[in-house]
C-alpha cells in the first residue's frame, strides 16, 4: 500500500521521510500565512476599501525591498535553515501580538494586517524554497516540487475551510491564534528537518553562502553574465505585475458585486474562502497527479506556456464580460495557475541559474524584484485604474513573449551550469583572449608585465610565453629588455618559444640573436646560429671551413636559404652526410627534411622506421607526416601495415597523418578498425577529407554490433559531420538496439550473483557492468553526435557522478537533446532509482519481465565485440564446466587474435 502510494506520487522510498517532513512544514506555514492573508484581505476590503489597494501594494513593495536586504544579509551570515527559523519566530510573535490587538481594531490595524500578510507570505515562499533547495536537485525538483506546492495548497485549503467553518462562530481573534499555533508547529518541524535530513552535496558553493567576503559587484556581474537569469527575473517581474493587476481587477469586481450585500466583509471573506478552497483543491490535484506527469510527458519547455496562454485568454475575455464567472476565472488564474503551474515552473527553471548565484536570485526575486513589480504595478494602477483590463492584456502579451526567450535559453543555461562543474581543458589561452574586451586585455597585459621582473625563471618564461601569445609586436621590446639579465639556458628556451610565434623573423629578434652569438657559450651559439640559418641570416660560405658536425645542420639551412642549383645540391649531399652519421645527426637530418619538406628523401626516411633507436623511428614517422603527398599512393598498404603493427602511438598518429595526405577512400574500414583511442581525432580528419564517398563504409561499421563500440562511435561521429541526415535516418534503430543491450548488461550484472549464489561470478559481473557503461557511453556519444551537443564526455562523466546536481543537470541536457521516445527508454537506466523501479520501467517499455540464464548470458558474451567479454566467457565456462565446455573453448584455438588463442589453450591445459 505504502509502495503504491509512493509510486502514484513519484516518490522514491529513500526520500519519503524527508519529503513528508517538508510537506508537513509547508502545510503548517502555508495554513498560518493564508489564514492571515484571507482574513486581512476581507477586513481590508470592508474597512479600508479597494481604492487603498494600490497604496497598500506600494507600502508592501517598499517594505519588501528593504527587508530583502536584511534577508540577504542574514543569509550571508547564516544558513537558509537559520533564516527560515528566524522568520518563523518573528511571524509567530507578530501573530500573537496581532491576536491581542484585534480586540480593539482600527483602520491602521487592518492596513498593517494586510501589509504583514503579504510580507510574511513572500518571506515564507522565498525562504521555504531556499531551504528546500538545500535538499533537492533538478530531477528531484521535477518529481517532488509539485508535491510541495500541493502541500502549500493543502494549507491554503485548510485555512479557507477553517475560516468558512469558524469565522462566524469563533471570530477573527480565534483564527489569528490558530495561525500563530501553526507557525509554532512549523518552527518545530523545520528543526526536525535540520537535525535529521541530509542536504545534497554541492561543490559549487553559492556566493551568497560562501564564507569568503564576496562583493555584491561580483554577484551582480555573475547575474548579468547569465542572460537566462536576467530573463527569468524579468519574467518573474511581469508575473508579479499580472498578479497584482488581476488581484486589483477582481477585488474591484468583488466590491461592485457585493456592495449591496448587508454583511459584505463576511460575504467577501466567505466567497474568497470558498474560491480559495476550490482553487486549492484544483492545485492539489494538479500538483500531485498531473504536473509531474505533464512535465515528463511534454517536457518543461511546453508546460512553460500554460500560464501566459491562460492569462492572455482571461484578459481577452475580460474585455467583453464583467460577471462573477470571469472573477472566479481570474481568482483561479491568480491563485491556481500562477501559484501552482508558474511557481512550479519557476522552481524547475531556477536550476538554469548559475549555481553560484542561485540562492541569491531566489531571495532577490521573491523579496526584491517581485516587490519592484508590485511597486511598479501599484503606481501604474493608481494612474490606470480604469484601464486595468487593458494593462493586464498588454502584460499577458509581454509574459508570452518573455516565455519564448526563457524557453530558448533554458537548455543552454543548464548545459552551461553543467560545464561549471567540470574543467574545460580544451580552451586555450588564445581562445580566451578572443572573448575579452579592450579594457580587460589592457589589464591582462599589466598583470603579465608584473611577472617579467621576477627572478623565478619558470614564471618569467610563462609570462613571456603569455605575452608572445597575445601576438602584439609592441610587446617584443619589453620582452627583449627583460631578457638582459637572464641565464643562457633561459635564452635557449626563449628561442624555442619564438619558433612557434609569428615574430621569429622580426628584425628586433634577429638583431638580439646576432648579439647573443657574439659572446656566448658554445651551446647558445649553436642554438642561435641554427635559428638564424633557418631564417636565412647566415651565409653558408662562412661555414665551409668549419668541421664541427653540429655546424652541418646550420650549413644545410644556410644553403637552402641562399638558393642556387649548386647550393641545393650541396645541401642534399650534406643531408645525406648527416644521415650516414650517428643518431644525433640522423635526428638533425630528419628535422631538416621535415622543415624543408624534402620529398626526395621519402624512401630513406621510410627505411628509418626500422632503425634500432626509438627516437629515430619516431622522428622518421614525424618527418613522413610532413613530406607525404598523393604521389606516395604506392606506400598506402605499407603505411597501413606499419600502423597495425606498431604499438607506439606517436608513430601511429604520424603515419595516419601521412595517410591523410594520400587520401584514398577504399581503405576506410581498415583505417577505422586499426584506430586506437589516442588517434581518433587524426582518423576523423583523415576520413572527413574523403567526404561522401566514405558514407557506406561508415554506416556499415556503425550498424554492425560485432565491431567494437569505439570504432562504431568513430563512424557515427564522422558520419554526423559528413552527412547528418544519413545518421538521423538510422539513429533510432541503432539506439533502440543499444538501449536494449544496455538493459541486458545492467540487469544481468546486477542480478547475476543473486540468481547463482553458489558460484563465484564476480569477474563476470564486472565484465557485464563494464559493458553496460560502455553501451551508455556509446549511446550518449551517438546522441551527442546527432545533435548539437558537443560536451558528451562531460555528460557521461556527470551521469556517473555521485554529485546529485551534476547528475540532474546532465539528465536535463540529455532530455533536451534527444527524441522523447529514446529519452523515455534510456532515462530509467540513468536515473538514480532503485533496481525495482528500473525493472518495472523495463517491463513497461518492452512489455515483458527481464529474464536471463547463465548459458544465454555466456552465449551473448562469447559473441560480443569486446575481447575482454569473450575471455571472461571462456573463464567462466572453464570454471563452471558445463557439458561441452571444452568444445566451446576449442573453437577459439587458432583464432587470429594471439592473446585469445593463447588464453583458450591455457584453459584447455
Amino acid at each position: 500500500m505504502k509502495k503504491r502510494f509512493q509510486k502514484a506520487l513519484g516518490i522514491y522510498p529513500k526520500e519519503s521521510q524527508t519529503l513528508f517532513r517538508f510537506v508537513r512544514l509547508a502545510i503548517f506555514w502555508s495554513s498560518s500565512c493564508n489564514i492571515l492573508f484571507i482574513l486581512s484581505t476581507s477586513l481590508f476590503i470592508e474597512h479600508v476599501g479597494a481604492k487603498f489597494i494600490p497604496l497598500s501594494y506600494m507600502i508592501i513593495a517598499i517594505i519588501l525591498i528593504f527587508s530583502s536586504i536584511i534577508l540577504i544579509y542574514l543569509l550571508r551570515i547564516s544558513s537558509p535553515y537559520k533564516v527560515f527559523s528566524k522568520v518563523a519566530y518573528f511571524a509567530a510573535i507578530s501573530l500573537i501580538i496581532l491576536a491581542i490587538l484585534l480586540s480593539k481594531p482600527s483602520f491602521y490595524l487592518y492596513f498593517s494586517m494586510q501589509v504583514l500578510a503579504y510580507v510574511f507570505l513572500e518571506f515564507f515562499i522565498a525562504n521555504f524554497w531556499n531551504f528546500l533547495d538545500q535538499y533537492h536537485d533538478l530531477q528531484d525538483a521535477k518529481r517532488t516540487y509539485g508535491i510541495y506546492n500541493t502541500a502549500y495548497f493543502l494549507g491554503f485549503m485548510l485555512s479557507g475551510t477553517l475560516i468558512n467553518q469558524t469565522y462566524e462562530k469563533l471570530g477573527k481573534i480565534f483564527l489569528i491564534s490558530i495561525a500563530a499555533l501553526f507557525m509554532i508547529l512549523s518552527i518545530i518541524e523545520s528543526k526536525k528537518i535540520h537535525k535529521k535530513a541530509k542536504p545534497i552535496e554541492e561543490d559549487m558553493v553559492d556566493l551568497l553562502f560562501s564564507k569568503g567576503k564576496r562583493g555584491l559587484k561580483s554577484i551582480l556581474r555573475q547575474f548579468i553574465k547569465s542572460p537566462f537569469s536576467v530573463f527569468l527575473i524579468i519574467s518573474s517581474i511581469i508575473v508579479e505585475l499580472i498578479r497584482n493587476t488581476t488581484e486589483f481587477s477582481y477585488f474591484k469586481g468583488l466590491e461592485n458585486i457585493f456592495k449591496i450585500h448587508p454583511n459584505s466583509d463576511r460575504a467577501i471573506a466567505e466567497f474568497l474562502g470558498k474560491c480559495n478552497a476550490f482553487v486549492a483543491a484544483f492545485s492539489i490535484i494538479i500538483g500531485i497527479f498531473f504536473y509531474r506527469r505533464f512535465v515528463k510527458r511534454f517536457g518543461i519547455k511546453k508546460i512553460l506556456f500554460i500560464p501566459p496562454i491562460i492569462f492572455l485568454s482571461l484578459y481577452s475575455g475580460w474585455f467583453f464580460y464583467h460577471s462573477l464567472f470571469i472573477i472566479v476565472i481570474a481568482i483561479f488564474s491568480d491563485k491556481g495557475v500562477l501559484d501552482t503551474i508558474d511557481e512550479n515552473n519557476f522552481n524547475i527553471l531556477i536550476s538554469g541559474v548559475p549555481s553560484k548565484i542561485k540562492g541569491i536570485v531566489r531571495i532577490i526575486n521573491n523579496s526584491f524584484f517581485e516587490s519592484v513589480g508590485m511597486l511598479f504595478s501599484s503606481i501604474l494602477l493608481l494612474f490606470l485604474s480604469s484601464n486595468n483590463i487593458m494593462f493586464g492584456f498588454v502584460l499577458s502579451i509581454g509574459f508570452l513573449s518573455i516565455t519564448f526567450l526563457v524557453k530558448y535559453l533554458f537548455p543552454k543555461a543548464i548545459l552551461k551550469n553543467l560545464k561549471e562543474t567540470s574543467i574545460c581543458f580544451q580552451k586555450s589561452f588564445k581562445d580566451r583572449i578572443k572573448k575579452i574586451s579592450k579594457k580587460e586585455l589592457k589589464e591582462l597585459k599589466e598583470d603579465i608585465f608584473a611577472y617579467l621582473d621576477t627572478k623565478e625563471e619558470k614564471i618569467k618564461l610563462l609570462a613571456i610565453e603569455s605575452l608572445l601569445k597575445l601576438e602584439d609586436k609592441k610587446l617584443l621590446l619589453p620582452i627583449i629588455h627583460s631578457l638582459k639579465k637572464s641565464s643562457e639556458n633561459f635564452k635557449k628556451k626563449f628561442l624555442e618559444l619564438l619558433e612557434k610565434t609569428p615574430f621569429s623573423y622580426e628584425p628586433l629578434i634577429i638583431e638580439t640573436v646576432k648579439e647573443w652569438i657574439k659572446n656566448s657559450s658554445y651551446d647558445l651559439v649553436i642554438k642561435g646560429k641554427l635559428y638564424l640559418a633557418k631564417r636565412g641570416f647566415i651565409d653558408p660560405k662562412d661555414l665551409f671551413q668549419n668541421n664541427d658536425p653540429f655546424f652541418l645542420s646550420i650549413m644545410i639551412y644556410a644553403l637552402k636559404r641562399f638558393e642556387s642549383p649548386e647550393n641545393l645540391k650541396l645541401a642534399k649531399e650534406k643531408i645525406e652526410e648527416l644521415l650516414s652519421k650517428k643518431e644525433t645527426f640522423i635526428l638533425s637530418a630528419l628535422e631538416i627534411i621535415a622543415f624543408e619538406k624534402e620529398k626526395d628523401f621519402f624512401e630513406k626516411v621510410w627505411n628509418l622506421l626500422d632503425y634500432p633507436s626509438k627516437n629515430v623511428q619516431r622522428k622518421a614517422a614525424y618527418t613522413l607526416s610532413k613530406i607525404t603527398s598523393k604521389d606516395h599512393l604506392a606506400f598506402l598498404e605499407k603505411i597501413l601495415k606499419k600502423i597495425k603493427n606498431s604499438s607506439d602511438s606517436f608513430i601511429r598518429i604520424h603515419l595516419l597523418q601521412s595517410l591523410e595526405k594520400i587520401c584514398y577512400p577504399k581503405i576506410i574500414k581498415e583505417i577505422i578498425l586499426s584506430t586506437n583511442s589516442q588517434e581518433i581525432r587524426h582518423t576523423e580528419n583523415l576520413i572527413l577529407k574523403m567526404g561522401k564517398k566514405a558514407i557506406p563504409s561508415l554506416l556499415f561499421i556503425l550498424k554492425n554490433q560485432k565491431y567494437q563500440e569505439r570504432h562504431r562511435l568513430l563512424c557515427g561521429k564522422i558520419l554526423s559531420r559528413i552527412h547528418l541526415e544519413t545518421l538521423t535516418v538510422h539513429l533510432k534503430e541503432i539506439l533502440e538496439n543499444e538501449i536494449k543491450s544496455a538493459y541486458f548488461y545492467y540487469f544481468s550484472g546486477t542480478l547475476l550473483q543473486k540468481k547463482y549464489p553458489m558460484e563465484d561470478l564476480n569477474l563476470l559481473k564486472k565484465a557485464l557492468l563494464t559493458s553496460y557503461k560502455s553501451k551508455i557511453s556509446f549511446i550518449i556519444h551517438l546522441i551527442g553526435a546527432s545533435s548539437s551537443l558537443e560536451d558528451t564526455d562531460l555528460l557521461i562523466h556527470s551521469l556517473r557522478n555521485d554529485q546529485e546536481i551534476a547528475h540532474a543537470h546532465a539528465m536535463e541536457t540529455l532530455e533536451q537533446n534527444c527524441s522523447f521516445k529514446i529519452f523515455q527508454k534510456i532515462s530509467p537506466l540513468l536515473d538514480q532509482i532503485s533496481l525495482e523501479y528500473k525493472m518495472e520501467a523495463y517491463e513497461k517499455i518492452y512489455g515483458k519481465k527481464f529474464n536471463f540464464t547463465l548459458n544465454n548470458l555466456l552465449n551473448i558474451l562469447e559473441n560480443s565485440s569486446s575481447l575482454f567479454n569473450r575471455i571472461v566467457a571462456i573463464n567462466v565456462l572453464a570454471k563452471l564446466k558445463p557439458p561441452n565446455w571444452k568444445k566451446f573453448v576449442k573453437k577459439y584455438i587458432g583464432s587470429k587474435n594471439e592473446i585469445f588463442n593463447q588464453y583458450a589453450r591455457e584453459f584447455l591445459k
Binding site: K211, I423, F425, F429, E443, K458, E465
Partner: protein, 137 residues
C-alpha cells in the same frame, strides 16, 4: 587584500609544486575553477569531522592546522597547500584549519581536483612525489 585575476591565479598555480609542469592553457583551465576567499586572523577555514569538499592553496598569510585536542600540528605559509588528504581518503576532516594571519586562500572543489588528476597524469605524479618525500625509512 586584493583578489587575483585569472591570469594571476594561473601564475600563482605555476609556483605550486603539483602544477609546476603544466602549461598556460592547463593552468588557466584550473584557475577557472578556483575560488578565492579572504579570511581574517583566527577565522576557521574548516573544522574536524566536516565533509571535505575543497583543497586549499595559501596565496597570502598563514594557516595553522590543529588536531582534536586543539594542538597546533603544522603551520603553513604562502604557496603551501592543504586539505587534499581527506578528499583522497574519502574521510571526514581529520584536522581543523585556522588562519593565523589575515589570509587570501584559493580553493578548488573536490570534483575539479579529481578531474584534473584524471585528465593530467603529471599532476597525479606530482602528488605522489610530494607524498614520497614525506616517507622516511
Amino acid at each position: 587584500m586584493k583578489q587575483l585575476s585569472l591570469i594571476e591565479i594561473s601564475f600563482f598555480l605555476k609556483k605550486i609544486s603539483i602544477f609546476e609542469e603544466l602549461d598556460l592553457d592547463f593552468l588557466l583551465s584550473i584557475a577557472d575553477k578556483i575560488s578565492q576567499d579572504i579570511y581574517d586572523k583566527d577565522e576557521k577555514i574548516f573544522i574536524i569531522d566536516q565533509n571535505p569538499l575543497k583543497m586549499y592553496f595559501i596565496n597570502e598569510g598563514s594557516v595553522g592546522l590543529y588536531d582534536r585536542k586543539n594542538n597546533l600540528i603544522k603551520t603553513l605559509f604562502k604557496e603551501n597547500f592543504f586539505a587534499e588528504e581527506d578528499i583522497f581518503k574519502n574521510s571526514l576532516r581529520s584536522y581543523s584549519a585556522i588562519c593565523l594571519k589575515d589570509s587570501l586562500l584559493l580553493s578548488i572543489p573536490k570534483e575539479a581536483l579529481f578531474a584534473i588528476i584524471s585528465e593530467i597524469p603529471s599532476v597525479a605524479i606530482s602528488f605522489l612525489k610530494n607524498y614520497a618525500k614525506r616517507i622516511y625509512f
